[in-house]
Amino acid sequence: MTIDDLTNTTGEWLRGEGPDSDVVISSRVRLARNLAEYPFLSTASETERTEIYRAVTEAVATNAGWSDALSIDLTEADEINRALLVERHLISRQHAVGEGSRGVTVSTDETLALMINEEDHLRTQALRSGLQLDQIWKDVNEADDALSQQLAFAFDQQFGYLTACPTNVGTGIRVSVMLHLPALKLTKEIEKVARAARDMRLAVRGMYGEGTDAVGDLFQISNQTTLGKTEEEIISAFGRDIIPKIVEYEHAARESLVRHRMYQLDDKIWRAYGLLCNARCISSEETLALLSPIRMGIHLGRFSAFGQATLNELFLYTQPAHLQKRHGKPLEGEQRGVARAEHIRGVLSR
């Protein structure tokens, strides 16, 4: 498998089929780990950094859980390929623009990914579509068990898994759920939900994590406390309590829109379709903003021009790196907007 093979599919997390997938786009769990015998990356020398990279990649290469996996040395990957991995949620933006020996290993179905030398030596993630927290915890826990047979992780009886930043210490777990909340946004209740989440010590961010805006009504909710609760406790708070509640609010807001603002809602959905069908130059932000009401329309049964699969395809392949990858060469500014509009019209006229 190569990085180019990735480009031809939309990845498991974007299937749009898991439980509660009308609202929950994807679920992700990440575990931060560091090799006990090496310094953290902020003080590691370039030699030590390279040794860490080699130690982890060698462990992965002989690990049954990662057979057939794709390992990418990010120092060798060009800018478009690195951006492609960000768009597929396989690496963080920080990892894409980082420096020095670093890489990522991705399982063939993209449900597992292992970032090497991001902020910590290892960050293993499991990612699936819809609300599937128990499944992805199982995935990532098994991967972590297997790796710990080969690598000694920095661990302390009191503080648990030791991480470069003490905000991640303990379990080193980061649970993130990506939600599509167009109705709460339209009814202006979104900030209430965000505030309630923050009161519960949860972080609310845009689609690509820290420092990103909520484009396309996509919000990512994640835990910030990693010490003093077991992984299962943190997961189950999300899966059985926090997320179902937000899903319920979004459903109520959608029902209210249908009941009280049906014409405006339908108008918004179908106008968005009209724009996508006819635009001659369009940004990725505008594309995501237009796909948002359509996605809601599909799930409410108010939109019939195309289904979830086409929506997923448009969602991913209109993003800058995917678009350029498909195009076969880098595109600048307006060119990119024109190519994107052409691509969308091509898909929609099929």
Partner: protein, 167 residues
């Protein structure tokens, strides 16, 4: 060109959006109004707020923050500036200074519960030895003291084989 927020007509607009409904037009909002409308999600960086906590409480350490980790050389003051530790041993070296800060950052939690790696006991030994030895080796090589380098290398090997996790 500066815009005034179109919502409150008071604050300076910092968020500029192109809306497409009902027709294409631009809107200019201040941070606060944009957040209220859900146009932006204010960044509440967990790391930064917790970092501020760390920095806030650094007074009154009476020079304790000048103590350096013997493995990586990091001082507690340097940690407070960057928010990043230098090596796993820092948690041991700065334990007492760190405890109250960790407690604040993690909703009063003081101890890890949950998963434990099966190499837990061994990793404690490894982490406060190998980094130091490896750096000593590097220095010895740079000083062209090959006799010392050979000795240190043997020590590293002995330590690695003593507690390598069984495969």
């Amino acid at each position: 060109m500066h815009y005034v927020c179109q919502n409150c007509n008071q604050a300076r607009a910092t968020v500029h959006i192109t809306e497409t409904m009902p027709e294409k037009h631009e809107r200019h909002l201040c941070d606060e109004c944009a957040e209220k409308e859900g146009v932006i999600v204010k960044q509440h960086h967990p790391t930064n707020t917790i970092l501020q906590e760390f920095i806030k409480h650094k007074t009154g350490l009476g020079g304790a923050d000048e103590k350096a980790c013997p493995d990586c050389g990091l001082t507690f003051r340097e940690f407070q500036q960057s928010g990043q530790f230098g090596c796993p041993n820092d948690y041991e070296v700065f334990r007492s200074l760190l405890e109250p800060l960790i407690e604040r950052a993690h909703e009063n939690a003081t101890h890890h519960v949950g998963k434990v790696p099966h190499t837990a006991d061994e990793s404690l030994k490894r982490q406060s030895g190998l980094t130091r030895l490896r750096r000593a080796l590097q220095e010895a090589i740079e000083d062209e003291n090959y006799e010392l380098a050979a000795r240190v290398r043997d020590e590293i090997r002995a330590m690695q084989s003593a507690d390598a996790p069984e495969s």
